[in-house]
């Protein structure tokens, strides 16, 4: 198998989006979808393509909660902390998630399988509390249900 030059891969993603008006976010999404995070080495390439300073690119990356500059665990587990989920026991679920995954917010479980992130509303307020793993959402998540979902995700990972 030929190793893909990582900088060439980054450049290809940038080139695919740089013609769009307001191309910054589409580029960053493209990079994160492909690589799991925005590598430091991408910053000067984005700056050059969009004719802005590296500081401006860094400013955008660091502004948005969704973008990460370090690799995450294999799956990202987002637990909703917003009001509707609070009303249905989210605080208990948060504590349980931290204990089961062995990490605090923004950290990764010791086996590298899951990164735990807070999220403020998944739009699943009619079936609170809710969590998201990748592009899958789950509603009415009790602590027991959380364990089942994590076990399923672990077997898929």
């Amino acid at each position: 198998m030929n190793a893909i030059d990582p900088q060439a891969q980054i450049q290809a993603i940038i080139d695919a989006h740089s013609g769009l008006p307001g191309a910054m976010l589409p580029i960053l999404h493209g990079l994160q979808d492909a690589l799991g995070h925005i590598p430091e080495t991408a910053i000067p390439l984005i700056a050059k393509a969009l004719n802005v300073s590296r500081a401006e690119v860094h400013g955008v990356v660091s502004f948005y909660h969704h973008f990460r500059t370090e690799p995450s665990g294999r799956r990202i587990v987002e637990v909703c902390r917003a009001e509707s989920c609070q009303a249905m026991g989210a605080a208990k679920l948060e504590a349980h998630a931290k204990a089961i995954l062995g990490t605090d917010w923004h950290g990764t479980s010791p086996d590298g399988a899951f990164t735990l992130e807070p999220v403020y509303c998944l739009g699943q307020c009619a079936c609170s509390p809710a969590i998201r793993i990748g592009d899958e959402v789950h509603g009415r998540v009790s602590c027991e249900r959380f364990d089942e979902i994590i076990a399923d995700a672990r077997s898929e990972a």
């Binding site: 589409p26 999404h29 917003a82 609070q86 739009g123």
Partner: protein, 518 residues
């Protein structure tokens, strides 16, 4: 003849296992040699019954829910394909009291059809509004919208026709329609349900807006927390373009309208219209000072209509049935309907579209069925994280923009989150400040610094340190944030904080009189 079975593809249904249910039904039918056609529809909005499976019979659609994959064999055994009774059967879907009492205008089609089927959309009145608009002058379209009394459904309730008229009158080579689909408020999900359940109505509304103001490019700014809505919108835009409703000669109007969906990146503040525009331009989501209004200098400095999903999705029915039809719903200066969203600790959660003017008590008890926990409902947050906490004594206030504003609350986007008597209102007030700090764009000091100081002051009140002095300080701080913040983020965080303090002083460890005195 094959039996039609509806299994929703709405993400709430998926979050509760709808895909597994659909597969179990297909497998069971194959095994039994039953001739079924499974349609993946939007949600009917009765979330407590999701996954809600419907079977089409000669009498209408019969509802079964909540169905789990392991219930499927039993449903077949009980002849659910003929609509026969079973413990999960609720009879005709449209006779379920939660649904039967609604006035569905914006949500007329949601849950009935396959969201991406263009034939279904056209067969149920789709494109009628755009067809009418295509035959009208721009000024006449704007007049219809103005006369309907439609106000911005994102929360600010600004008259839509007046905003459109400003953009129509602006002279520029390029104008834009931007749909604010950054539905970040907890307790709200109507935008998501509509985008997943009837995406063409939003596309139609945006195309009408384009014709009305002379804009040729539209953007839907969608939050990244909605991956299912993103896929649905992308597919729907592609199909609508291929069918000629978008593009160089949109719906044979002779006018051009293009549309693209863009993803946000997890910043609550980007629901504020100027921060949203900055984000679309590829910058940090930092709020702009107004004026200039986005209607005159919006996206890339050009005249721009920025409207919420619900606002734009209400336009097609206004154009199809006329301004008077829509205007006749509602009360006072709140015309039309609002899709209310029942969330949090309620037995019957989901979407209730009603004309303005019903009371919170009707929504909470007649529709919501009281608390899910069976305990008394103590406080209700209306209008998202920046909305006030409403105590039981105010549950009889009619839901219209002016009545809620008069009591220091807001209807906002119609999100309603119920809490039972286990809630600690001091903790909720603290959370409001903490959330404000986490999501502040940082441009203005009252919001950026005030929210952090606010969290600290509430901590001192909770800890019992010099309570009267700290309560006075908190009120003064809230006054500064209300009057001095650049946008509603810092300007309205005092709503939940002060309403919690005013109505539930005991939770802060203070007697009623102390909180009034300060």
């Amino acid at each position: 003849m094959s039996t039609k079975i509806f299994v929703p593809i709405d993400s709430t249904a998926l979050a509760l296992g709808a895909d597994k249910v659909a597969k179990a039904i297909a497998d069971e039918a194959a095994q039994r040699g039953a001739d079924v056609q499974i349609v993946r529809n939007g949600s009917r909005g009765m979330a407590w019954l999701e996954p809600l499976v419907e079977v089409e019979t000669e009498h209408g659609r019969i509802a079964y829910g909540p169905v789990r994959a392991k219930d499927v064999t039993e449903l077949f055994d009980h002849d659910f394909l003929q609509g026969k009774h079973h413990r999960l059967c609720h009879g005709l879907t449209e006779h379920i009291p939660f649904f039967a009492g609604q006035e569905r205008l914006t949500f007329a089609r949601v849950g009935l059809t396959d969201p991406l089927c263009l034939d279904d959309y056209a067969a149920r009145g789709g494109w009628e509004g755009l067809n009418r608009a295509a035959a009208l002058s721009a000024a006449d379209i704007v007049k219809q919208v103005t006369d309907s009394g439609l106000r911005g459904r994102g929360g600010a309730a600004f008259p839509t026709g007046i905003k459109w008229n400003t953009v129509l009158g602006a002279q520029a080579a390029q104008k834009y329609i931007v749909c604010n689909a950054d539905e970040g408020d907890s307790g709200t999900f109507s935008d998501r349900m509509l985008m997943e359940g009837d995406p063409y109505v939003l596309i139609e509304g945006m195309a009408i807006a384009g014709l009305a103001v002379g804009a040729t490019q539209g953007y839907i700014y969608l939050r990244s927390e909605y991956p299912h809505a993103f896929k649905t919108l992308k597919a729907a835009i592609g199909k609508a373009r291929a069918a000629g409703f978008l593009g160089r000669d949109a719906d044979h109007s002779g006018r051009n309208f293009e549309l693209e969906v863009r993803l946000g990146a997890g910043a609550y503040i980007c629901g504020e219209e100027t921060a949203l525009l900055e984000s679309l331009e590829g910058k940090r989501g930092v709020v702009r000072a107004k004026p200039p209004l986005p209607a005159l200098k919006g996206l890339f400095g050009q005249p721009t209509v920025v409207n919420n999903v619900m606002t734009l999705a209400s336009v097609p029915i206004i154009m199809a049935k006329g301004a008077a039809f829509y205007r006749d719903y509602g009360m006072g200066r709140s015309h039309g309907t609002l899709p209310f969203q029942l969330a949090g600790n309620l037995r019957h959660t989901g979407l209730v579209e009603k004309a303005f003017g019903l009371t919170l008590r009707e929504l909470l008890y007649d529709y919501g069925g009281g608390s899910a926990s069976g305990r008394p409902i103590r406080a209700v947050q209306v209008g998202g994280p920046l909305g006030a906490y409403v105590p039981e004594s105010q549950f009889d206030t009619p839901l219209d923009y002016e009545s809620f504003a008069a009591m220091g609350a807001m209807v906002g986007h119609g999100g309603i989150v119920a809490f039972d008597d286990m809630v600690d209102m001091a903790a909720q007030a603290r959370y409001a400040m903490e959330f404000c700090a986490a999501e502040s764009c940082g441009k203005c000091t009252p919001c950026r610094i005030g929210s952090t100081r606010g969290t600290e002051v509430i901590d001192r009140i909770i800890a019992g340190e010099e309570r009267p002095r700290n309560v006075a300080l908190l009120k003064s701080l809230c006054d500064t944030m209300t009057a001095g913040s650049l946008c509603a983020h810092g300007g309205m965080t005092p709503f939940p904080v002060l309403s919690a303090l005013r109505h539930f002083p005991g939770d802060f460890g203070i007697a009623d009189t102390d909180s009034q005195a300060a």
